[in-house]
């Protein structure tokens, strides 16, 4: 009995979807728009996160040591720093490496090259480039360096010079994340509301039919069922259509976005995460279709 009813509900849903194909098509188109927004938010989030990550990775602080600082003490400081929870990465640049880098950098400047040759020793000190896990942690690392037992071997820490830039960047990145999340949420909500109202409108045109079904003695679940099936079909087809649209779009936009933002190639991301993206769109689409149908039909099941 249960399976017969289920089979009949599914059959009625599919038949109704096909017979009202123009309304179905309009509903799917609006749902595609909504799912396109959701997908676009996924992609833009990937681009934004990767751009922000790259910017964050460019920030570090350099600790310059006095030229007479013993290498053993620098190594000790390096291992102490590694023990700090805020520190993500440390790069040691020895005095010799620093000189070599400096020479390479200024190899075309004869004045600097000659001046270096006239100096007997290596005028450059060793240094450590320290990367924090988060932007806000640089201040704590700097305090550790300047107030700690190693302050005697440190010539300078460039955090104070970069402090303004780091703080500002930290502020911009934080604000970008918040604004991005807010805009995403608002856009997704608008898209969902439009799709929801389209489905409600489609069912509104069937309100007379629903009341007839009630009057001939059909159970609520039997009346509601086919509309839910239609909602599922709308969701599945809309998710599939949105994925098809994203193929040429990411193929065209991906390399351009990569060049402009230096970010990941969206097309490669689309291909690599095809099933995950499809699963998200499918879930949102089917959920939207089912919930909208459920709410819309419920309104007319009161007679």
């Amino acid at each position: 009995m249960f399976f017969i009813t289920l089979k009949r509900i599914a059959k009625n849903g599919v038949i109704s979807f096909w017979r009202n194909r123009w309304v179905s098509l309009a509903t799917i188109l609006v749902m595609v728009l909504a799912l396109f927004m959701v997908g676009a938010l996924l992609f833009s989030n990937v681009l934004l996160s990767s751009a922000l990550l790259r910017l964050e990775n460019k920030v570090d602080i350099s600790v310059y040591f006095r030229t007479d600082a013993p290498e053993s003490e620098i190594k000790n400081l390096s291992s102490s720093l590694s023990g700090l929870p805020q520190v993500k990465e440390i790069e040691y640049i020895s005095r010799e490496q620093a000189l070599e880098d400096f020479k390479k950098k200024h190899q075309n400047n004869s004045l600097i090259t000659r001046s270096l040759d006239e100096l007997e020793g290596n005028p450059l000190g060793a240094s450590l480039n320290v990367k924090a896990k988060e932007l806000g942690q640089y201040e704590a690392i700097t305090r550790f360096l300047e107030d700690g037992v190693y302050s005697s071997i440190i010539d300078k820490v460039n955090y104070s010079q970069n402090q303004l830039i780091i703080n500002r960047l930290s502020g911009i990145l934080g604000a970008s994340r918040r604004i991005g999340a807010g805009v995403s949420l608002v856009l997704a909500m608008i898209a969902v509301l439009v799709a929801f109202n389209t489905i409600r409108l489609a069912i509104f045109t069937n309100r007379e039919e629903i009341s007839i079904m009630r009057l001939v003695g059909a159970k609520n679940s039997y009346i509601r069922g086919p509309y839910i099936i239609e909602g599922i079909i709308h969701g599945v087809l809309a998710a599939f259509s949105a994925m098809v649209i994203f193929y040429p779009l990411t193929l065209w936009f991906g390399p351009r976005a990569e060049r402009f933002l230096g970010g990941p190639d969206l097309f490669a991301y689309y291909l690599a995460n095809f099933f995950e993206i499809f699963a998200v769109l499918l879930f949102v689409g089917v959920f939207l279709g089912v919930i909208s149908s459920w709410i819309a039909v419920k309104r007319y099941l009161k007679i």
């Binding site: 009995m1 017969i4 009813t5 009949r8 109704s16 017979r19 009202n20 007379e208 039919e209 009341s211 007839i212 079904m213 009630r214 009057l215 001939v216 003695g217 059909a218 159970k219 609520n220 039997y222 009346i223 007679i303």
Partner: protein
């Protein structure tokens, strides 16, 4: 079998549709409700179909107070009351077969039984050749016959026909009334509302006359008198 117990329906203080209606209908009776437009005939029918709730009073179907039933019990009662309307109220996106089968499928009847019963009722209403047609492809008379087929297919105890001849020409109207008589002879109670004087006078059955929401006459073998 059906008892309207002091039914009143008031939409607003200025709009009173029914006032203190007491009406009892016995099994296998053929009752015609007559009255001018706005007399309250359709509202009374809506009370029986639970399409509207009375402001006061009760409607009993056998011993059940139908307006106090749980929502999930209502379909059971509605399957025992077949309804036919002036505007046919067929499902436009379903074929003749699907329209008639809908309530049966919802009740969980098996396909073989549904097919046999539909074939039988379509024979009775003379529409076997239109089984795959959509309502939009049928004439008014044919639509009403489909509506009657749908109403009787579940073998209901009562058939309620609200102005079933209102949109039909005299020949079709006569055929529809003849069908209702046949259904009555087969054992179903029939409640018919109509404006058609000839129909009422030809029936020679019980006539309940309504005016401004009240019953003003109830004759056992009545005639149309307004």
């Amino acid at each position: 079998m059906i008892f309207f117990d002091r039914i009143s329906k008031q939409y607003s203080p200025a709009s009173i549709a029914l006032e203190d209606i007491n009406l009892s209908i016995e099994p296998k009776e053929f009752v015609s409700l007559v009255g001018q437009s706005g007399a309250g005939k359709t509202t009374l029918i809506k009370m029986l179909l639970c399409e509207e709730r009375p402001t006061s009073g009760k409607v009993f179907f056998e011993s059940l107070d139908i307006h106090n039933l749980l929502p999930e019990d209502l379909p059971q009662i509605r399957r025992r009351i077949g309804a036919v309307f002036q505007d046919f109220r067929l499902l436009p996106s379903k074929t003749v077969y699907e329209n008639i089968a809908f309530a049966m499928e919802s009740a969980g009847m098996v396909d073989e039984e549904i097919e046999a019963d539909i074939s039988q009722v379509l024979d009775l209403v003379g529409l076997k050749d239109k089984i795959c047609h959509f309502p939009g492809e049928l004439s008014g008379g044919e639509k009403q016959r489909v509506a009657i087929a749908r109403a009787i297919v579940m073998r209901p105890d009562v058939i309620v026909a609200d102005e079933p001849t209102g949109n039909l020409d005299p020949i079709n109207a006569k055929e529809i009334v003849a069908l209702l008589q046949k259904i009555n002879e087969l054992g179903s109670t029939v409640i018919l509302t109509t404006h058609n004087k000839d129909v009422i006078n030809g029936l020679k059955k019980r006539v309940v006359t309504m005016e401004r929401g009240r019953i003003i006459r109830d004759d056992k073998e009545g005639r149309y008198m307004l």
